[in-house]
Structure formats: structure tokens, C-alpha cells
Amino acid sequence: MASPTRWRKAGGLCAGAGILLVVLGLCSLFVGKYPLTLEGLLAGDDMQVRVFWTLRFTRMLVGVLGGFALGASGFVYQTVFRNPLASPDVIGVSSGASAGAAAGILFCSGTAAVTACSFGGAIAAVFAALALAALDCSGRGSTIVLAGIAVHALAQTVLICLKLTADPERQLASIEYWIMGSLNGISLHSAAVNMALCAVVMAVLFALHRQVILLSAREDEARMLGVPVGKLRLVVLLAATLTVSCVVSLTGLISFIGLLAPHGARLLTRSNRMGTMVLSGLLGGVLLCAADLLARSLAETELPVSIFTSLLGAPFLIWLVVRGRRSL
């Protein structure tokens, strides 16, 4: 009766990660420079209610949902590319988002405009990578990786050119700060559209889980299992990239979560079933929320989130590898 045991294990792990995520989400609501109390919120304290809805709630929402999206889409990238190092960077989404955000900071005004430009940059990079890959009629899976490297290089060049034209005092600092990633200063208005889109596309990705697993087979084999490999890969990658774009266009670049969370989930469950994809998302949310809590509470000024995702992620990965070796 191995099946129920394994399912219970994945279910138990998901429940544990879910509880941890809820706890971190609640902490995220009450940790910060302006003290919030449950009594104050329930009593309708004007200032506390305003801080709660304009700052803390959005931050918690982006931390939980954004982390979940990064983790789950990392699972999809690694499975479809059959590459343990695959991440949104592979097809240039992060560098496209950076170049778009830099253009937004230089030529537009307002956070919402920067978010929109970043989203546009990410999507443009993905379409460029997929269009380049489509030029190769052989349909090899590696083509999209090569196309992604080319688009990444192009986006980096655009980013450097934009930085050169930026005002060093103000705009350059903003670009650098954006690239470092933060959950600070995201308005509920700009986050609502992105998070709603992110949730819908993620639901599609979860519904396509069985197809994602089929895409992990070699291309010939997948075709002979009735999978329209080219079309399906395009849809799945586009959905995963849309998800990531929704998050990074709000937060700036956040490293390591899309790579680490799926590895953690796989090492814990030793499978690639739906439960593992859910666990990847939950671990992504836990990592981002924990990193954000540290980023805003360890120093006087707020620190970049990516520092903590990397600092939390590296030892966690080492621990999981050591644990995995013991269990083999």
C-alpha cells in the first residue's frame, strides 16, 4: 500500500508548509516600523487600519501569492526543460523585466507605470525567445534555452544602455534598487491586477500538471504519447512566464526561490505529482515571506529581499542534499 502512504506524506508536508505559510503571513501583517495591534485594528484605529490596508495587507498578499507563484513556476520550468537549473532566467524573463523596469523609471513616472513597463519587458523577452526558437524547425527542446540566452544577452545590453543614460543621483539608484528586489511600497491598486492574473494563470498551470509531466519525456517519446509537444510547451511556458512576470514586475528581481522551492519539494516527496507542485508553491511562499520579514526587521533601512532568499536558500539546499543522501 505504498500509494496512500506516499500521498499522505505529500499531503502532510503540504499541510505543514501551509500552516507555516499562514503563520508567516500573519507575522507579515504585524511586523514593521509602525506597530499594529489586533486590538487597535478591531477598535477601528484610523491610522492602524490605513497602514494595514495600504501597506501590510498588500505586502503579505504579494509575499504569499508571489512566493507561491515563483515556487510553482520553478517546478514547471525544471520539469519541462528537464534541467535542474532551469528558472525564469533561462528564457530571459528576469532580464526582460529588468530592462522594462529601467525604461519605466527613465521615461515614465509612478510605480504603476514601472510595473507595467517591467511586465511588458518580461513578456516581450519571452515572446522574442519563443519566436527565435520557432525559427528552428527541428523542434529540439534545447533551442529555446539557446534562444533564451540570446534574449538575455540582448536585454542586458539594453539595460546597460539605459543605465548609461540614467541620472546617477536618482534614476540609476532607483534602477539598482528595483533590480535588488523588495516587497516595499507596492500599492494594493497595482498589486490587485497582477495578483488576480497570477492566480488565474497558476490555476491553469495546476490544471495542466499531467501535461507538464508528459513534457518531461524526450520529445519523440512525448509525441508518440499523443502530446502536441510544440504547442503545449509554448502554452505551458507562456503560462509559467506570465506568472513570474506578474510577480517580478511588482517586486523587482527575487533570486533563488524558483530554483530552490521545487528542489526542496522534490527532495521531500521524491515524486513529481500534483502534491509536489503544490508543495513547491508553498515552500516558495514560506521563503519569500520569511525573507521579507528579515529584510524589514534586521536593520534600520530596509534590505533587499534577494540577500535573504539566498542566505536562507543556500544552507537549506545543503541540508536537503545531505538529508537526501542519507535516505538513499
Binding site: S3, T79, E219, D220, E221, R223, M224, G226, N272, R273
Partner: protein, 274 residues
């Protein structure tokens, strides 16, 4: 047995971008038969299988009961024809049962999941291939031979009429390779079905195949029937690809004629000079 054409290949040409490897292969097979493909390395055995199911750009036609396989979209193709490569490309942690359930994909909608009946049938297919009780094991922990048997189980549940197998015996030991071929013999007799298998081992092919397609330099050299053809005729065709060979007929305990092939290559008497 019904011997009207079930599967016909005409003027099949294919290659990998350079000169054609297949140069106009022609043959046909009746239903209920296992057709083995024999040939030296590089003669086009794998290329033939890939061209038949449209995995390679090709010229000519492969007709299964009158339907051109090359013109079918992947889903329709997978319902009619299944392919087992030399090595499966599944590289992720996945249970043995989940690998077999992949075989139902052509019969499921995009968002549908395998039913309880499909799971029960997948377990029976695993039992048939000797993998009973290993449903929840990680596919990656199986030996190469067991992986081949698992992929065979996946193929059996797919409902395809034509199985294309690329050296399915290569990773199997003596007992398992005969078990696999006997299983295929049972399967192929169940209806309008056929098996086309590229085989590395001519003895296995002579013992288990109804017909043998002998390829030489991408062309059909001969189509043989090991049970009926005269020994000199078989020897002549097989010697053309393996060098001088002789065949000896041995009656098995079941009374059937079994053929044993020996190499008649003369040992060189020249002094060893390295």
C-alpha cells in the same frame, strides 16, 4: 489467420539532414504477425521505425489499414501506433504506475485524469510484464531492463494497433527477452494488431518473429519467413548482412522448428602483428 495487407510501407526514404539513410524501403505485413527488422549497424533499422511513425521527415508512405500514418496529428497517431525507443527519456522521479498511465494520454482530454478502471488495467499490464507489486516504486530506481518492461506495459495499455519497438531486447537478460517476445506474441494474436521490431539479436528474431525484414544500406534486401522458408534461402539473406553464417534446424520440445545460427567466419591465420 487473416493475411490481407494490414500495414504497408511504400518507397520510404528518410535521413537526418544529410544523405538519405533509408532509400526506398518497401514491405507489407498481415495482421497478427511480429515482423522483425534485421540489419547491420547503420543499415537504417531505427531510422525506419522513426520514419514510419513520422518522427523523421520522410518520403513515401506508411499505411496502417489504409490510413497514412505520416498525415495524422500526434493524438490520432498515438491511438493507432505506439513506439518504444531504445532508451526511455523519462528523467524525473515518477512512480512506475504513473509511467504506465501515460499510455492513456491519447484517450484523455487535456485536463482529464486517468480513471480507476485505467489504473486497474495499468496494474494488470504491469503484472503481465512481471512488474507486479512495483507500481509505487520510483521509475528511476528500476534497472534498464525493468524500465523497458515498464514502457512495454505503457504501450500495451495505449490501445494502439501497431507497436514499433527499437531493440527492445537490448537491456534484457536471456529470460526476460524471451518473456517480452512471448508476451508480444500473445498480444498480437488478440485482434487486428501488428508488431514491427528492430532486433539486435538474430537468434531471437529467428525464434520469435513471424516475418523478417532484412535491411542493407537502407534498402529492403529480403523479407523472410523463418518458419516456412528453406534454410539456404535464409542463410543467403542473413550471410549478406552478418558475413558467412549457417543455420541448423532443431526441433523444440513443443515440436516447432527452431533455428540456430552459427558464424562461419574463418579465423585469420596471419601472425599477430601489432
Amino acid at each position: 489467420m487473416n493475411h490481407e495487407p494490414f500495414f504497408t510501407v511504400t518507397g520510404l526514404t528518410a535521413g537526418y539532414g544529410g544523405p538519405d539513410i533509408l532509400r526506398g524501403v518497401e514491405f507489407s505485413a498481415a495482421p497478427g504477425l511480429i515482423t522483425g527488422i534485421l540489419g547491420a549497424n547503420g543499415s537504417g533499422k531505427t531510422t525506419l521505425l522513426k520514419a514510419v511513425c513520422g518522427l523523421l521527415p520522410h518520403g513515401g508512405q506508411s499505411l496502417l489499414e489504409g490510413c497514412d500514418l505520416g498525415s495524422l496529428p500526434p493524438r490520432q497517431l498515438a491511438r493507432r501506433c505506439a513506439y518504444i525507443p531504445q532508451r526511455s527519456g523519462i528523467g524525473i522521479d515518477i512512480s512506475v504506475l504513473d509511467v504506465v498511465l501515460m499510455g492513456y494520454n491519447p484517450h484523455l482530454g487535456l485536463l482529464e485524469r486517468p480513471t480507476a478502471q485505467m489504473k486497474a488495467a495499468a496494474r494488470r499490464a504491469l503484472a503481465l510484464t512481471g512488474l507486479a507489486g512495483r507500481e509505487e516504486e520510483n521509475y528511476q530506481t528500476l534497472s534498464e531492463g525493468q524500465k523497458q518492461l515498464c514502457i512495454l506495459a505503457r504501450t500495451l495499455v495505449s490501445g494502439a494497433q501497431l507497436l514499433l519497438l527499437d531493440e527492445p531486447e537490448s537491456a534484457l537478460d536471456f529470460q526476460l527477452r524471451y518473456r517480452m517476445l512471448h508476451l508480444l506474441r500473445r498480444w498480437v494474436r488478440q485482434g487486428r494488431r501488428g508488431v514491427l521490431a528492430a532486433l539486435h539479436d538474430p537468434m531471437l528474431a529467428l525464434s520469435c518473429c513471424d516475418r523478417l525484414l532484412v535491411l542493407q544500406e537502407g534498402r529492403t534486401l529480403a523479407v523472410l519467413s523463418p518458419a516456412d522458408d528453406l534454410l539456404p534461402e535464409l542463410e543467403s539473406a542473413l550471410s549478406a548482412i552478418y558475413g558467412p553464417v549457417s543455420l541448423t534446424a532443431c526441433p523444440g520440445r513443443d515440436g516447432r522448428r527452431h533455428l540456430v545460427m552459427l558464424s562461419e567466419e574463418q579465423e585469420e591465420n596471419e601472425p599477430w602483428n601489432l
